[in-house]
Symmetry: C2
Subunit: 674 residues, 2 copies
Amino acid sequence: MKRLLYFALFILILVSTTMTPQTLNLLPVPEKITLGEGNFVLTHSFDISIKGNPDKRIYPYATRVLRRLSGRTGLFFPQDFLTEKSIEDTADCIISVEQPGKVLLNEDESYSLQVFSNKILLKSKTDLGAMRGMETLLQLLQNDDSAYFLPVVSIDDKPRFPWRGLMIDACRHFMPVEVIKRNLDAMAAVKLNVFHWHLSEDQGFRVECKTFPKLHQLGSDGMFYTHAQIKEILAYAEDRGIRVIPEFDIPGHSTSWFVGYPELASAPGPYTIERRWGVFDPTFNPTIEETYKFFDAFFKEMCELFPDEYMHIGGDENNGKQWNQNEKIQAFMKENGIKSNHDLQTLFNKRISAILTKYGKKMIGWDEILQPELPKNIVIQSWRGTEALAKAAQQGYMGILSNGYYIDLIQPTDYHYLNDPVPADSKLSDDEKKFVLGGEATMWAEFVVPENVDSRIWPRTAAIAERFWSPQNVRDVDDMYRRLDRVNFQLEELGITNTKNQEMMLRRLTNNGDCTALNILVDVIEPVKIYTRHNYGVKYYSYSPYTRVVDAAVPDAPEARKFRKLVDEFLNGKKELKNKITAQLTLWRNNHEKLAKTINLSPIIKEIEPLSLNLKLLSEAGLETLSLLDKKQKPKEDWIKATDKLLLEAKKSYGQTELMIVSAVEKLVNEVKK
Amino acid sequence: MKRLLYFALFILILVSTTMTPQTLNLLPVPEKITLGEGNFVLTHSFDISIKGNPDKRIYPYATRVLRRLSGRTGLFFPQDFLTEKSIEDTADCIISVEQPGKVLLNEDESYSLQVFSNKILLKSKTDLGAMRGMETLLQLLQNDDSAYFLPVVSIDDKPRFPWRGLMIDACRHFMPVEVIKRNLDAMAAVKLNVFHWHLSEDQGFRVECKTFPKLHQLGSDGMFYTHAQIKEILAYAEDRGIRVIPEFDIPGHSTSWFVGYPELASAPGPYTIERRWGVFDPTFNPTIEETYKFFDAFFKEMCELFPDEYMHIGGDENNGKQWNQNEKIQAFMKENGIKSNHDLQTLFNKRISAILTKYGKKMIGWDEILQPELPKNIVIQSWRGTEALAKAAQQGYMGILSNGYYIDLIQPTDYHYLNDPVPADSKLSDDEKKFVLGGEATMWAEFVVPENVDSRIWPRTAAIAERFWSPQNVRDVDDMYRRLDRVNFQLEELGITNTKNQEMMLRRLTNNGDCTALNILVDVIEPVKIYTRHNYGVKYYSYSPYTRVVDAAVPDAPEARKFRKLVDEFLNGKKELKNKITAQLTLWRNNHEKLAKTINLSPIIKEIEPLSLNLKLLSEAGLETLSLLDKKQKPKEDWIKATDKLLLEAKKSYGQTELMIVSAVEKLVNEVKK
């Protein structure tokens, strides 16, 4: 009876406040949800069967789903490993698949999921759809005080875009196999289906190359993926219905190639692996046949190794300096009537495109490769924006959007979330819109290392994944944040380290001391945005320490975001929030004294002491403001001056991190100044 | 000036209380330390050079050391990657190595480390010694409020035993490559030098076998190491100066082999992979030639794959049932005058030994293989104990001790720490003692999975490592615990997950709720000991969930240990500790109400609710006892009865976990009863 009552209460809560029935805790939100009444209760006898004609990768996938359910609930299920023989009609959960899916662009990923009070039915055309549906099933799991259950629900779902990607730069900092694997698992959990693997850069060539072994031997500091490891990752991705697009960035961004093969560069060597960050001069020489002989043999090997139809050739940020300074190249251009470096790169791209075509691949590259003479089967990845993308579409070129999804720039989740590859006001025709295949979040790796890379990717990329999968009109930011917290927690079960490694980094920063005070500060600070981290007199190299407070701090600091919202709501009339704001400000005000003690034990965190002091002073100013508002008093001139000065000071960054609650305190202060 | 003062104070503290100069924070304690005056201060210009004739693996090792120092301190060192060219005399730290080390038994691992106020000199015969010395150097790092430094010190060090191992069972639960790698790093940090890799069991055959592919294809549920992965791990271990001993456990413990090759078993098949825990019947048939043909080809492949001189053949726990029941085997025994299963196994071992000899290997196995007809170059790994080991030594057989180092049995650190392969009262002669090569901690994997395996290995194995490395008379348990806390923290930098994954598991157990109350309970409970986890009506399989409170709880619960010590000291006369005890008991008493709320939100933790209640009641009883002691009152009869009953109840386990402070409260109660 207690349970029944609780249920009734639960349903009430569900409908009234904490959960919107249209989204539950699902992220990405499915295309169509119909919530029924009652629940499917998970018991010790829960089991799964798989029918139809799936690819056999579905059995380990479903086994992992079973383990995840068991792990969360502590229920001892009777089933060990799902196999071709797991086809009993009596199973609690029956998965039916029509045909094996192909892990290729445009494969069917739709599914329908019906949860009844005594049965779960998951149907899909391909096993890729079934995988997407199983992740939805896992997100449906809820509990009360005595049981685990899924709500009775009927879901019909399919993706809005066929190309939903995450790019990881494994070059500027190398990312070992396990980093890639856990991120593939997390991608599958939020229905992403393209892993774009950035494999060569000025700072490192990261693939074993059997044809030209000096590439990895001299260009990687010993940090590269062997063929065996690449095959391992390819299989791992395929088992999760994820395509893998390798990128070899040419003709620029290529210093590391020339350490072993300087004769292919546009200026004489010798070259050493680049240790700095930026755009550098070394560029392939597009005017000598040796270059194309090299790439013919190189891409022959790589096109065999990587199975996807697409090969990414980068093509971005060639600064042209080496070309300008090379007399032979200049002579070649004159001879052949090539008027600009842009045209010279076009010639290069055409030759590379022909090589890729020969080996059965289509080309993908950044905006710069869009040139009228290239075949229509190429894909443009746009770092420039939706307009560039629309223009390409109008010319009949397929494209994906990355502008607005640069997750290395430490921008807030909602910024990325509301960024749309085909915005509602797009002027493209319906036919043209089809050329926009989707988008990719890009994890450039100047400032991330294996220890903290997950904290830049997750949870923000889950919100981006929803943009790529869910209907265009799913844009409720508050509801997204609510679900994002949940997904962020669930990703831990797949090995994602953003939460636990932040805790670890704080322990290290305090020399294993009490982290409470530092934690309170870190919850409201963020690394400085865009590319400004280079602007504070600290010169970073690839081998610099990435273990400071700025590296432990995360984008879109959750406590700061919540506080800003609190203040907005308070100023919009929710006066009852005053106590909450007061409590928060009091906590922050009192934090400085505690943190000062920690700082005395740990020189590495000294650089953020001014932020802690500013947080204290801001909190004091905020408390004073509330008190003035309460008493309906106007502040004195002196107070206003001092507070304005404080606000200015508090906007400064220290240790390349900044306080993210200044704007909220400023709003309070402005209110009292009115 | 402030700094100088602080230094003076620091030295005082160092000498007087927190640090014993003989051990500093070093673990294992070196053979000889002489502490000087002053410090070597680490600055932004710190660099390392390497001289002499080392193996080239030392360059990446030293580079990692540089990164670890940089990561801890946030200092931006100018050096990128150490190479053969890093030989400047001006470097702050100069490493000199006479010759490349061989990663084999009995290689020289000695080193001397001299820290001056302006220079660090590390000298060793082999690069293995230099690696051990670099780990000592890292452990010397300290800091005050403004700088990082190493104390001026002179260290001469070498290991007591040449065989210092950790066994990981990768069969009962599969342990992916990254689990092995991070544990190899941790082993190197505490100077362990043998990784014993348990690779076949009833529950799984974990190695790709090219000669007999059905072994891994049918015997592993897809969870096995490829040759490429094995080579990757072998290289990783070799780069850290760690030997790798593979174990293929035969003739028993072999169900998984027979799934693909039932004809080699002593009873007809078919066989399926074992999912239960225990000792099982399936055993190789030692009476047919097919068995030896099979092993000849099998070991040919494996002896080529694994480079160490030793091959471990297990040999334990053959229950003999299949032999007894097989008429042909019985007939064979009669024919050949073989009187017992033990003798039959001797015949088997002799044949296997001959095969291994043919492929250039020496044999190692558990106690059971010790039979007089086997060659004297074999090594006995004793799960039976020091006496068995001593007996073997007296017969001229080399041995290593594992009895007392079974870290799966959840025993406290000091139990393992004080267990000595050659105890002080050993009756062996000095010559005989040399036959005892060292020991191995053994991580059997019934109850560990990749998520929590580190928490069973670490930090306890660090204490075992000290037993194997440091002089026999290093036995100060309190000092060991002090240093162990430090090492445990430092192991995180190498990826060890025991601390962070416990936090993660608690988050999952509370369904991402507030973990504070659960954490307080978990800090004083432990899984039940030895093999009793099987005794509570919960039937475990390999695929059961290992995500419950019992799996998050750790051996030698630190808060419980500290409390027991506190009570002992209090009862021994340190009356001033009363307040501390009172504060602790009050915290525990008040914890239950908070935890009860969490339990209401998370069915998976309901099973430990009685422990929380008992902790509350025990704490109340403890507080009452203190009050009685204070007032010098005798307790009433009723109170004594009720308290005795409570103590009895509180000793019970729930959810296969138990409260570890009962004995301490009992001591308090006994005191007041006096």
